[in-house]
């Protein structure tokens, strides 16, 4: 290879490394935006930890009571809302009784949005579910992990009324529900603090309740030790977790559709990393050989 060609190749790699970052932003924009228009549903492989969540709910007999804690805000909606909708579908199809609460102020509102979506399904609409009998929304109570702790002694202490001001003693579903002893499973949707870790620390390890969780992808890896010890029955991680849950239910929805964008964007980032490393190693080799020549 002659000196001129080497000069040209050197400047190509250097140019590549010093590319304006706005070009990278443009690539990411296209990688995320374009697949949204195709609305493709790709095959989603299910992980054992997601299967654990599905089985935890599926194994409950009809009439079992499930406490769902909505611990996220609209910022985490793309990741957690599909999980919430899939959970409601599974619970109502299996005739489970659902008690909704939230440790984040916006959580119960997210629950209502998910319910609104799920009630549009023909098979669930046909069940004619009644508020207060089949499901109830206790709303939000401030106090973080203290709420979890106090509910272990008495639900009424933390939630004297539901989200609409009705004393919980007057709600048919809540009669006979004093504390966690009367709950068959807790399902937690969490985007941070307070969230799944607090439910494990104050709910599972103190009151020995069964817990399954859906987490944002940032949090999910740190929940794996809890799954391995059995403190968690399973965990859904991020949008992929939502897609897995929809796949297990046989109802591909928003999360499955979004996975095409997710896949393309991941591939683009991997490509950038490969190109960056190729450029780096090429330049490093060039400098090393130049130093050897000079030496």
């Amino acid at each position: 290879m002659d000196q001129g060609h080497q000069e040209e190749e050197k400047s190509f790699w250097e140019k590549l490394l010093s590319i304006d970052r706005r070009i990278i932003f443009l690539f990411i924009t296209v990688a995320v935006a374009v697949p949204l228009f195709f609305r493709l549903s790709l095959h989603i492989a299910v992980t054992p930890v997601a299967e654990g969540v599905y089985q935890a709910v599926q194994s409950l007999p009809a009439g079992s009571k499930v406490l769902v804690s909505f611990d996220y805000d609209p910022g985490s909606m793309p990741e957690l809302q599909p999980m919430a909708e899939a959970f409601f579908r599974q619970a109502f199809r299996n005739d489970l009784k659902v008690i909704i609460m939230g440790l984040w102020p916006q959580g119960p509102l997210q629950a209502n949005m998910a319910l609104e979506e799920v009630f549009k399904d023909k098979d669930i609409a046909a069940k004619n579910l009644k508020y207060g009998v089949d499901y109830v929304n206790l709303g939000y109570t401030a106090g973080n992990e203290v709420v979890i702790d106090r509910m272990g002694h008495s639900f009424e202490e933390s939630y004297p009324k539901d989200a609409y001001g009705t004393p919980i003693g007057e709600i048919p579903l809540m009669r006979g529900v004093r504390n966690y002893d009367n709950i068959d499973l807790i399902f937690n949707l969490s985007a941070g603090y307070p969230g799944t870790q607090e439910w494990v620390q104050y709910g599972v390890d103190v009151f020995h309740v069964k817990l399954a969780a859906g987490n944002t992808a940032v949090q999910a890896p740190s929940m794996y030790p809890y799954v391995q010890t059995g403190q968690l029955s399973g965990v859904l991680g991020g949008m992929k977790g939502g897609a897995e849950y929809e796949t297990l239910l046989g109802i591909p929805g928003r999360a499955v559709r979004y996975m095409f964008s997710q896949a393309v964007s991941h591939a683009v980032i991997c490509l950038f990393i490969i190109i960056g490393n190729l450029a780096y190693f090429s330049l490093r080799r060039r400098r090393k050989s130049q130093m050897e020549v000079q030496g």
Binding site: R22, F25, I28, V32, A33, L36, F37, R39, G75, S76, M77, P78, E79, P105, Y140, A142, E145, Q197, V200, Q201, Y202, V204, D205, T216, A217, V218, A220, P221, P225, Q228, T229, G230, Q231, G237, G238, M239, K240, Y258, S261, Q262, S265, H266, I269
Partner: protein, 218 residues
């Protein structure tokens, strides 16, 4: 034009304002950022007032006052005055001459947190995790489980050795620490992969909002 439609346009305008930073810093972005700071402060002001201040302090004091005026006895809820007093001491931080009094409130916060977390972290994140690491290293009939258990035991042990900085990392100890670093690197790589997934999910959500809800393109 419905209020919902106006709201969607406001949301889209602000979304594009924040995204404009990707091109370069500009007044449109600065306006959106400043609005975000102000609105966030306002949001937490309102939530704190209705969800914490009112139910935890005012309601308890009103109850104590009601009992005093209607039944003529001093109810124990008056102790919430002490809590309120500690809260007011916190605000004195704004005044340099008496700011030191806020240390009393901070001491209370620190003490409560320390006490609450002591037992919970010890049990859930300490003892239970050690328990989960006590696994058989040879499981007859299942090579997968055997290898998996060995990986978990060795990885946890070596990872903990790495974090022990009171002894120099050399010799066999240093070798174990190095293995620990490898496991931690795999953990951080997995964390990075999941973080990318999470950030992309948020971007997908915003793009979906702009294309579907705002522009109605699909």
């Amino acid at each position: 034009m419905s209020s919902e439609l106006i709201g969607v346009w406001i949301g889209a305008f602000l979304t594009l304002g924040i995204f404009s930073f990707l091109y370069k810093d500009n007044p449109f972005y600065k306006f959106s950022e400043a609005l975000f700071v102000g609105v966030s402060a306002g949001y937490w002001f309102v939530v704190t007032f209705w969800q914490y201040f009112l139910p935890k302090l005012i309601d308890n004091l009103v109850l104590a006052y009601t009992v005093l005026t209607s039944q003529g006895r001093v109810d124990y809820h008056w102790v919430y005055l002490l809590g309120g007093g500690l809260g007011v001491l916190m605000l004195l931080r704004l005044f340099p001459t008496v700011g030191w009094l806020s240390r009393w409130s901070l001491a209370f916060i620190v003490g409560t947190t320390a006490g609450l977390q002591f037992t919970r972290y010890l049990e859930s994140n300490g003892i239970k995790q050690v328990q989960g690491t006590i696994l058989p290293l040879i499981v007859g009939g299942s090579l997968n489980t055997t290898v998996g258990n060995i990986v978990i035991v060795v990885g946890t042990f070596c990872g903990l050795i790495y974090f022990f900085f009171s002894k120099e990392h050399k010799g066999a100890f240093g070798g174990a620490a190095r293995v620990g670093v490898w496991f931690l690197m795999i953990t951080f790589g997995a964390l990075f992969g999941y973080t990318v997934m999470s950030r992309m999910s948020l971007l997908i959500g915003r793009m979906d909002y702009l294309f579907q809800i705002w522009l109605g393109l699909y």
